[in-house]
């Protein structure tokens, strides 16, 4: 078999089980692809020794007939996941040199299922950003380009390294994390599938925290089926994470029946934003038609508090981040500024954090500190919490009225160029999350599915939002959409 790195997870799994290929061959193909893809800057810490050892172990398991679905599948791991003995620094200078003594629950589960780690993937620093430009490693470059244009584009963020790596076939799948859209937006920008599961479905233990009440890890894959397979391996109750749900994990792949006849798809009118590009609008309509053609009922719905979601998100997330990031103080690990004679503890904090955190992280720490401070707490943080409760209720209401899934655009535009947003108001960048943050605020599962290309030849995706804990049904809707859209485009290799 050639181009093994271009296989999907399900294809590779089947080939491995039939003995048509080996984990070793898959892994070597990916390592070669990674070596040739330095220009994308997606992999920032390479672990070929670990990969080869894991592949050998996987081949042995397969030979013994003990081969879980992920066995022998080469993956990229977002830098936000703590991986034992391997740099895990959330793309931040402040965690320079940090090699955890522990393995995150998600990677532990993936490795126990036989998955192979190729290396760590870049991301926006501490998962704060929508373009991967805030990474201390420099920006990730999307494998996609506008037709007839060699300008470097963003793969989106914060899981930009994961998105670029999967889209460019450097790995078969990658882990991502999503606090306000960090799996779904880059998936949409790069023409791949990304699912953020229900809050509590996947353990946060060992995942470097951004905003604890919103963070959730999920898979980024080439197909919906792959997402179902990989999510199954990542999910499950973890007693080490108090917010992890003690619920059984169903067989998500088995839910992919392709039958959604009679299901009710909600189209929320509040997501029809002013100034939305006509191409996104048209894509949305096309997606609606596809689901209708598959036998679903289409229903116009209202989620009245949608317009308050972005401001509420940009209060809650920075508030939690300002507290979560307090531990990076130079005392115990990571970067510590060199001090001048006479500098005390305050100078150590100030210099260390000023040098260690990038501008966007600093901005969010300051916003978060401000909204939690005495005299502002009620006006900002408390009000945002109330808004959050209302947004959650909006969804509960439509689900109670029989809606099975909600279809929306995934992003307000296709991918933009590196540096294009640099001079803009940071709020312009925050608007990338406008369709995705509601899902995090409500703790719901959401999936981005590639549906078409825009006039410039760039991928565009739609988002499906499901009922809590019903990822299986959500994936099935996404599966139908994927099949109907027949999206098979791949970026033309230029790197």
């Amino acid at each position: 078999m050639t181009d093994l790195n271009r296989l999907s997870i399900s294809e590779a799994r089947d080939a491995l089980r039939k003995g048509e290929t080996t984990a070793k061959a898959l892994t070597e193909a990916c390592l070669t692809a990674i070596e040739g893809a330095g220009a994308l800057n997606a992999f920032v810490h390479h672990t070929p020794e670990i990969a080869r050892a894991q592949a050998a172990a996987a081949d042995q398991r397969i030979a013994q007939g003990d081969a879980p679905a992920m066995c022998g599948i080469p993956l990229g791991i977002k830098d936000l996941f703590c991986t034992k003995g391997v740099p895990s620094q959330a793309a931040s200078r402040i965690l320079e040199g940090f090699r955890p003594e522990y393995e995150s629950t998600v990677t532990t589960q993936l490795f126990e299922a036989g998955a192979v780690m190729l290396g760590k993937l870049s991301m926006d620093e501490f998962a704060m950003g929508s373009s991967n430009e805030t990474a201390c490693y420099g920006p990730v470059i999307s494998p996609w380009r506008r037709q007839g244009d060699s300008a470097a584009l963003t793969p989106g963020g914060s899981s930009g390294g994961s998105a670029a790596a999967v889209a460019a076939d450097l790995c078969l799948g990658a882990t991502g994390t999503d606090t306000g859209g960090s799996i779904r937006q880059p998936a949409a920008f790069t023409g791949i599938v990304g699912i953020k599961p229900t809050y509590g479905r996947v353990s946060r233990w060992g995942v470097i925290a951004f905003a604890s009440s919103l963070d959730q890890a999920g898979p980024m894959t080439k197909t919906v089926r792959d997402a179902a397979i990989m999510l199954g391996a990542m999910s499950g109750h973890d007693p080490k994470d108090s917010t992890s749900a003690d619920l059984p994990v169903p067989d998500f792949e088995a839910a992919l029946t392709g039958d959604i006849r009679g299901k009710v798809i909600g189209i929320p009118r509040e997501y029809r934003m002013e100034g939305m590009p006509a191409e996104i609008e048209a894509l949305w309509t096309r997606g609606t038609e596809m689901l209708k053609d598959a036998g679903a009922q289409i229903r116009d719905i209202s989620l009245p508090h949608t317009k308050y979601a972005l401001p509420a998100y940009y209060v809650v997330a920075p508030a939690e981040a300002s507290s979560n990031l307090a531990r990076y103080d130079g005392v115990r690990y990571g970067h510590r500024a060199s001090l001048a004679q006479g500098d005390g503890i305050t100078q150590m904090y100030e210099k260390t954090r000023a040098e260690g955190f990038g501008k966007e992280v600093q901005r969010r720490i300051m916003i978060g500190t401000y909204v939690l401070s005495a005299g502002f707490y009620d006006a900002y943080y408390n009000r945002a919490r109330k808004v959050r409760a209302l947004i959650k209720r909006d969804f509960e209401t439509v689900f109670a009225e029989g809606v099975d899934a909600i279809l929306t655009p995934a992003t307000p535009s296709s991918a933009f160029g590196i540096g294009e947003m640099a001079s803009a108001d940071p709020v312009e960048m925050y608007l990338n999350d406008v369709f995705t943050v509601t899902v995090n605020l409500a703790g719901l599962p959401g999936i981005a599915v590639p549906v078409g290309l825009d006039a410039k030849g760039l991928p565009m995706g739609l988002q499906l939002i499901g009922r809590p804990w019903e990822e299986g049904a959500l994936l099935n809707h996404a599966y139908v959409l994927q099949r109907a859209a027949g999206f098979v485009s791949k970026p033309q290799k230029w790197w």
Binding site: F81, C82, S88, A90, L95, F98, P100, E101, Y102, S104, R204, W205, G206, V207, I208, A209, A211, S212, S213, P239, K240, D241, S242, T243, A319, E320, S322, S323, L325, A326, R327, D329, V331, R332, Y333, I345, Y349, T369, L372, S373, A374, Y377, Y381
Partner: protein, 505 residues
């Protein structure tokens, strides 16, 4: 209820240069929860371990680490709440208190500001027989302790020890119901006693396992009553908080100093500034800990890593059903069942183990006599030898056996003391009755034998007989001689009676 019979003590009055002032005191007690593991990590809480040896990844706030509540600590907090007759909140929640300090690895302390696990309760603080202050408890919440910063090991560097980081504390917050330094110390002592009875805190103040923040203000006589009637704090003076006190003696001294400092300011026409102060035991004064510019803004908010803590009433009921008898009830029972004095009852109930020992000795015996023996002979001896009750060479059963021998008249009080000494030093664990028999310790009550001895002594000492007849008070000499002649075994009462009869007194 027995405690209804108590009357409140008079508040402490301090005479200023111009007028009289009263004290108003409220306390926040930080009690380390007795538990082998920390509040949110499995690390050990052992005191005195090598620095940084009891530190988990969670305690060190490594990236991606998450807290998981230790259920036993929750049970201990509930038990404590029940012990101060408080309301138990079936739903409570954890908040983060944010501030930077090297011994606080997370950069925040997980605490319960908005929804504590224990609500209102009360503690009865006795200040003398029939006199007690009822101190209301406002709340008890759980929180993490910080680590320790060490600044005196190196001229340029500070060191941190995270062993204490994340250890579970209960903060027990009182209402401002305490009215003097002695009451404050008595309140801490009473709370400590209750915690030790419950086994929820070892109360070791030296190790810092029980520390108090003391809020002190002063007001003119009459103002406190207005506050009581309205619960309106504006009737009271501005308070200062004296932080981190871990000695009863210092608590009293600090309150006294602080009250006088505030009175001096007020009488000079000044204003007391609300602030946090530290007590310096060497200088015997309090001083300001931080200026207003450095005042912390803790940015409390609900900890997103923890779900609200929900407990079930059935679980609380189960804990309630397993509660030990607490000091107030035990003391009342000792007073009623054993007829001991108020003072003795207090001494006997100070520690649960002591009370249990006494209970075992006194059950079915003369309570007053048992109290005398337990307090004077046993506690006295233990104290002298620096032993705890658990290390007593004489068991409650043995002491009870000694008392039984006295009660049956088999041995005299004097013999009993000798027997006690033998049991203590020579025959630990032995049956007192057997020891007494083996050593020939038997009081002679046989009048025939005593009569013979009396006759002999009278016959041999005609001069003493003449003297005693002239002055009956001297008859005691004969009693002494008879007891001596019988080797101390004659029953003194029987000898007395016979001597008087034979001498015709």
């Amino acid at each position: 209820m027995l405690d209804l019979t108590f009357t409140p003590p008079a508040p402490k009055v301090i005479q200023g240069a111009r007028e009289d002032w009263e004290l108003v005191i409220g306390m926040e007690i930080h009690a380390q929860i007795a538990s082998n593991a920390k509040l949110f990590s499995g690390a050990s809480t052992a005191f005195g371990s090598e620095p940084n040896s009891n530190v988990s990844f969670v305690d060190a706030a490594m990236p991606g680490m998450l807290p998981v509540i230790n259920e036993f600590c929750v049970e201990q907090a509930v038990r404590t709440g029940l012990g101060v007759k408080a309301q138990i909140n079936l739903v409570s929640a954890f908040d983060r208190k944010n501030y930077f300090y090297p011994d606080l690895p997370q950069g925040y302390q997980i605490s319960q500001l908005y929804h504590p696990i224990v609500g209102e309760g009360e503690v009865l603080v006795e200040m003398g027989p029939g006199v007690a202050r009822r101190v209301r408890i406002e709340r008890i919440h759980m929180e993490q302790d910080a680590g320790k910063s060490i600044h005196d090991m190196d001229p340029n560097l500070s060191f941190v020890d995270f062993n204490r980081t994340g250890v579970a504390l209960m903060e027990i917050v009182s209402r401002p119901d305490i009215r003097g330094p002695e009451e404050a110390a008595a309140y801490v002592a009473k709370l400590r006693q209750i915690l030790r009875y419950l086994g929820t805190c070892d109360g070791n103040m030296q190790n810092g396992n029980l520390r108090a923040d003391v809020n002190v203000s002063v007001c003119r006589p009459g103002q406190y009553e207005k506050y009581q009637a309205t619960q309106d704090f504006s009737h009271l003076g501005t308070r200062c908080e004296i932080k981190n006190m871990n000695s009863m003696r210092f608590i009293q001294a600090a309150i006294d100093y602080e009250a006088r400092r505030q009175i001096a300011i007020l009488e000079d026409g000044g204003k007391v500034v609300q602030e946090t102060r530290l007590y310096d035991p060497d200088k015997g004064e309090t001083r300001s800990m931080r200026s207003k510019e450095e005042a912390h803004d803790y940015r409390y908010f609900p900890c997103p890593d923890l779900m609200p803590l929900e407990i079930e009433q059935a679980w609380v009921d189960d804990i309630a059903a397993r509660m030990p008898e607490l000091p107030d009830a035990k003391k009342a029972r000792f007073l009623e069942d054993y007829g001991v004095t108020d003072y003795d009852a207090s001494v006997l109930t100070a520690e649960a183990e002591n009370a249990a020992f006494f209970d075992a000795v006194a059950k079915g015996r003369d309570g007053k006599q048992a109290a005398n023996w337990v307090i004077n002979e046993l506690f006295g001896r233990l104290n002298k030898e620096g032993r705890s009750i658990a290390e007593s060479p004489v068991s409650a059963a043995q002491l009870g056996g000694v008392l039984d021998l006295i009660a049956s008249g088999e041995i005299s009080g004097k013999m009993a003391k000798d027997l006690f000494e033998i049991l203590w030093t020579e025959a630990p664990g032995a049956d007192p009755k057997e020891v007494a028999a083996a050593r020939g310790m038997k009081q002679v009550t046989d009048t025939g034998a005593i009569e013979k001895a009396v006759d002999e002594i009278i016959t041999a000492n005609p001069e003493q007989v003449a003297k005693a007849k002239a002055n009956p008070k001297l008859a005691g000499w004969f009693t002494g001689q008879v007891i001596k002649a019988t080797g101390g075994k004659a029953n003194p009462a029987a000898v007395n009676a016979l001597v008087a009869q034979k001498l015709g007194l």
